[in-house]
């Protein structure tokens, strides 16, 4: 009989830590990009949109391979971080964060961009005419008026990062407490035929993913209801 008390929850803790940090970093980085994409009429827009969406269609192994190449100590980027800053980017938690930011980028950018695009253009212009800068307009008018898109972006990015496997395995390997996240732990349990633990780990992931998605749908449903009742 499986002893539930002996269950190692460290991989889940690591997955949540990775997802939390990635979501935070991606929010900061994606906000200006999503805003720019929503406002620009530049000919470069489709190119930027395609590059941003690449992680959705690329096999994780392809993305993982290129990230590994770029972050390795033999490359200019990896060498710079390791030699000058003393930060190892492959097979480390820091490397996982960098890789996750690439992998989950479209899940943050796309909902934000579509939220910004759905805003009434005159509302933003009214803010400029009130003397407010673009930064003030984004934080005081645009973001509060795209709450469903904002919540979707944050939650889906978090959930997607928790669920990543291929890229994490390639860039981070499976170092307990450092890079062995929940999805990698499940893979290893199956490899060594510890199906009981694999079942429990998987069930936790299924339950968590369902609750996250349920939270998004309930929130968006409530926002629509509030909009109708107001």
């Amino acid at each position: 009989m499986f002893d539930i008390a002996s269950l190692d929850l460290a991989p889940f803790m690591l997955s949540f830590k990775l997802a939390g940090i990635t979501t935070l970093i991606l929010f900061v980085l994606s906000l200006p990009l999503a805003w720019y994409l929503s406002q620009t009429h530049s000919k470069a827009k489709p190119i930027l949109e395609a590059v941003t969406a690449l992680p959705i269609v690329l096999p994780p192994s392809v993305l993982g391979f290129y990230i590994l190449v770029v972050l390795s100590p033999n490359s200019a980027v990896g060498g710079f971080f390791e030699d000058l800053l003393g930060v190892k980017l492959v097979f480390s938690f820091t490397g996982l964060v960098v890789a996750s930011c690439f992998y989950s980028l479209p899940f943050m950018v796309q909902p934000l961009q579509s939220g910004f695009e759905s805003l009434n253009k005159h509302m933003l212009e009214a803010s400029y005419l009130a003397g407010k800068s673009k930064l003030q307009t984004v934080f005081k008018v645009a973001l509060p008026n795209i709450k469903p898109s904002l919540i979707t972006a944050l939650i889906i990015t978090f959930a997607h990062t928790v669920g990543e496997f291929g890229v994490v395995l390639m860039v981070g390997g499976s170092i307990p407490g450092e890079t062995k996240v929940a999805s990698v732990a499940i893979y290893e349990m199956v490899e060594v035929m510890e199906y009981g633990t694999a079942h429990i780990y998987s069930a936790i992931m299924v339950l968590m993913s369902f609750l996250v998605l349920l939270a998004v749908y309930v929130f968006n449903h409530q926002q629509k209801k509030i909009g109708i009742l107001r």
Binding site: N120, H122, M123, E125, A126, S127, Y128, L129, A130, G131, K132, S133, K140, V141, P144, N145, G227, R230
Partner: protein, 228 residues
């Protein structure tokens, strides 16, 4: 005194044309822009607000807003703008919409009282009727005590009763604050009642300029252009 001399290529509902306007507006004047859809009225208003680029010059009380391609950003122009679709900040209450522009609580109270909105001050703007929204929009536009008040068909989305009420409030605010006002309209009757001066635009050009009496008794080209 406002000096306007602007040119801009337009690709509108009336095909390709050129907005080419040269005029002077006196301080405190109430000007109504009349003309058919696509004649360039809204574009002229948006160029004055700095929301669209154009070639030419705009000088407002000796301050240069546009000189050739160099333009003062909308944030630095002392303008109040009333949009046809209200463009209120949906995440804010009536009072917050006004205070966002200028944290002058006394002015907020005064404007809400003038437009009979005091009781709605803490209500979220999403729950207001069209007429109430447009009155909030009008109050918000006055919060900067603007040199120039621009209104893009502020009455067009309202029913007849609300149109009359808001028309009176527009006039009340215009007189109280002595603001120079330019309003785009399709409504000849409202224009006649509000305007000191009417400009008729057709294919981007001013084809008639005068007092309401002069405009509505002028030759058939004007009445034909206005479709009246």
């Amino acid at each position: 005194m406002i000096d306007i001399e602007i040119q801009k290529a337009l690709h509108g509902s009336q095909g390709d044309m050129r907005l080419d306007v040269k005029l002077q507006i006196e301080k405190g004047e109430f000007v109504v822009l009349l003309g058919q859809s696509g004649s360039g009225k809204t574009t002229l208003l948006r160029v004055l607000a700095g929301l669209e680029r154009a070639a030419g010059n705009i000088t407002v009380e000796n301050v240069i807003w546009l000189q050739n391609q160099k333009m003062l950003p909308p944030q630095q122009r002392e303008i109040g703008f009333v949009f046809q679709d209200y463009a209120l900040f949906d995440n804010m209450s009536v009072e917050e919409n006004l205070l966002y522009v200028n944290e002058d609580r006394a002015l907020t109270k005064r404007l809400l009282k003038l437009t009979e909105l005091t009781q709605l001050s803490s209500r979220n703007v999403k729950g207001l009727s069209g007429g109430q929204k447009q009155r909030v929009s009008l109050c918000r536009a006055m919060m900067k005590k603007p040199k120039l008040l621009l209104m893009d068909e502020p009455l067009s989305a309202l029913d007849q009763a609300m149109r009359i009420k808001l028309k009176d409030e527009i006039l009340k605010l215009h007189k109280t604050f002595g603001t120079t006002t330019i309003m785009v309209s399709h409504d000849s009757a409202v224009s006649y009642q509000l305007a000191d001066r009417i400009l008729v635009l057709d294919h981007g050009k001013v084809i008639a300029d005068g007092s309401p009496d002069e405009i509505f008794t002028k030759a058939s080209t004007v009445t034909y252009s206005l479709n009246i």
